[in-house]
Symmetry: none
DNA sequence: TATGAATGAGTGTTCATTCAT
DNA sequence: AATGAATGAACACTCATTCAT
């Protein structure tokens, strides 16, 4: 092999672990934990299988790293969302479609959601991390915003946590749909359009007439 | 065993395949396809591992049988639901909470949904069967009912398919929540109560004032 | 493959575990634990690699089984030896050569000794089992016999445990020699002859003139 | 590092290979060849794993170097021992305990013996080197000394090679014992004391009455 | 039918060895 | 000379599948 420029060993990159986690995220999201093969993760990351073990002790360890890596930027997004709800509830809800779009462009949300749903039973701690660090925060913030609006006479009576769930659910289902049914040729769901229409729906159903401008 | 007529508690052999499919459904729902072990399925079905191969050619084959077994009764339920919506849209929606409750008591819905979401990527035909035979039907029927109501001036304008999605989503999320987060100690979601509150929400948001009785 | 009489699956034998342990003993004795390959053990036992795992959980587990299997018959031999020393010490010592010969014909003593010596550091419990169940018993019995003979004025003064070690050592070295140096063409040691000459040596050195008949 | 003359504690590079061999000897003695990891050897030698390959081609090569390193000083000791036996056999034997003590303080004899015994099967040439260059020499010299003493009427009849083995064995066993059984809490053997008592034993048994002074 | 011992291809993991720096 | 990240072949172990009984 005299071809110059075809080195057997790649130069060591600064962010090997990051690249591996990216590749692993893709494969885990696609196949699930058990069906994912380290060979494929390594190939996609452009490294040898052995190299994975320079950065992660086991397959599980790598999976954990993926989950954490996915959660942390979202934690930021959630905090940002939480910080921006001073005004009337309608203003908050009208922000949601855009936020959702940004999130979906940033991360393979669908794959991640699929992964979490599919593996929660086999990795309870991961479900716990996911819930405690992300879902409960987001849901709690939205619930409190709604309760506050109820206290201000802006929103009609009803369980505020359930309202929050009602608000979020269609977008989640839209994301899952895209992951599950679009690949087999089902009619897509335009999640942004869905978000807009649903926010309109929720604003109409929640806000009291006397509070409307 | 020479006593004639004695084997009172002899295992009934009538529905071996059915028992196996039941056991398999439980294990697949719990672990996902790849992580499920035939050993465990056989043990739960009370048969030997070899016996599985008397009724099913491969693990995949058994998985397919599970999916079909789960779908078919639901197809019936969906057809029944579709057949029963002659009147105003509100009447139809008010039926949903009860139907949901019955469904959830009949089947391990959560496990199945989890299974479908988790394995759709690895088994595209299964996603297709699930979509074509069940989801598309149900969603289509609901969409058509809403479109008809719009034509009657009962429901405000908006994409009827999205309305259908908005209607169904929270219950699905509730079911998934029960499967994913309740086992790790998260606060449960009362799916029935959620269904009632959400139907109220949707009726308020969808029906036009002039159409209300 | 229509050739009859060439079954892919062997008939299940009554003593598969036993055969596997035999094969494993040979390979472990030859190579040591780490260098032994399960493939080879399986091949020598005439089974597939997977079959090993029907009977033993891990390679270590199999190794432990080998050590125990090797010890237990020896425990019997030692007890028998211990039981047979009523008379003067010379009578006891004159029994040793024959016992040694029998033992060496029964078991791959050399290989086992080699194995124990080579792996004691990596498997301390095994060294412990070997010592507690076998070596300490044998050495203790011999030591007590010598001490009793000293008390009777038969044997000259000196540390009886060291006398015991002096008595046994050459045979052990002979066995090790056979294992280590004979395969490379070194001059063999006739362990039986060595035992006879050494017993003569020890009887001469230990027994007091006045006690000699 | 611009300060000239500053690196007072700069690692002396003079004897890298020697340091590596020392570290390797320790690890090989502890674990055996197959179970020894180059990582650990490098760490103990205070160099990187790659550095080993600057001095040794392969792991086997390093192992060979260790064996040779261990043998050569002993060859000297043996020659010295051989040179010093002009007089009566008793004088020679009375030198043994002290020689043994010196040897044991100089080298990890136990570990080395363990290593040789454990790996002789996997590295026949090593067994050969060990035998030809060391063991055969030492044993031969002792055998000849005994034969000469027999010719002089000093020592009673009997196979002189076996007498030599009888003489040496207990000390070897003592060394092995220290390596194998002491770490697990067994009662130690005082090799020096054993050597003294055993030499006494052998002198009594070998020398003829008429030859005693 | 039914069993379960046995198989063997496949996967996670280790580690001696290599090479860009 | 020296490093240590990277490689890849080798090995322990798993598990869907088969077949003698």
């Amino acid at each position: 092999m005299l071809t110059p420029g075809a080195p057997k060993f790649r130069r060591r990159k600064a962010d090997r672990p990051g690249e591996i986690v990216q590749a692993a995220m893709a494969v885990f999201a696609e196949k699930g934990f058990a069906a994912a093969r380290l060979d494929e993760i390594a190939a996609r990351a452009g490294v040898s299988k052995g190299a994975l073990y320079l950065y992660f002790e086991t397959k599980e360890d790598l999976f954990r790293a993926v989950v954490e890596q996915v959660i942390s930027p979202n934690v930021q997004a959630v905090r940002a969302l939480i910080a921006s709800h001073p005004g009337p509830i309608g203003d908050l809800l009208r922000l949601v479609p855009e936020r959702i779009s940004v999130l979906m462009d940033t991360l393979p949300v669908g794959g991640v959601v699929k992964m979490v749903i599919g593996e929660a039973g086999n990795f309870p701690e991961l479900a716990r991390v996911w819930h405690d660090d992300l879902v409960a925060h987001a849901l709690g913030a939205l619930t409190r915003a709604i309760a506050a609006a109820q206290a201000r006479g802006e929103v009609r009576e009803g369980d505020p946590r359930m309202f929050a769930i009602e608000i979020i659910s269609p977008m989640l289902i839209g994301v899952i749909w895209r992951e599950i049914f679009v690949p087999i040729g089902a009619e897509p769901i335009d999640v942004s359009a869905l978000a807009r229409q649903h926010m309109d729906t929720m604003i109409r159903a929640l806000t009291l007439p006397e509070a409307r401008p």
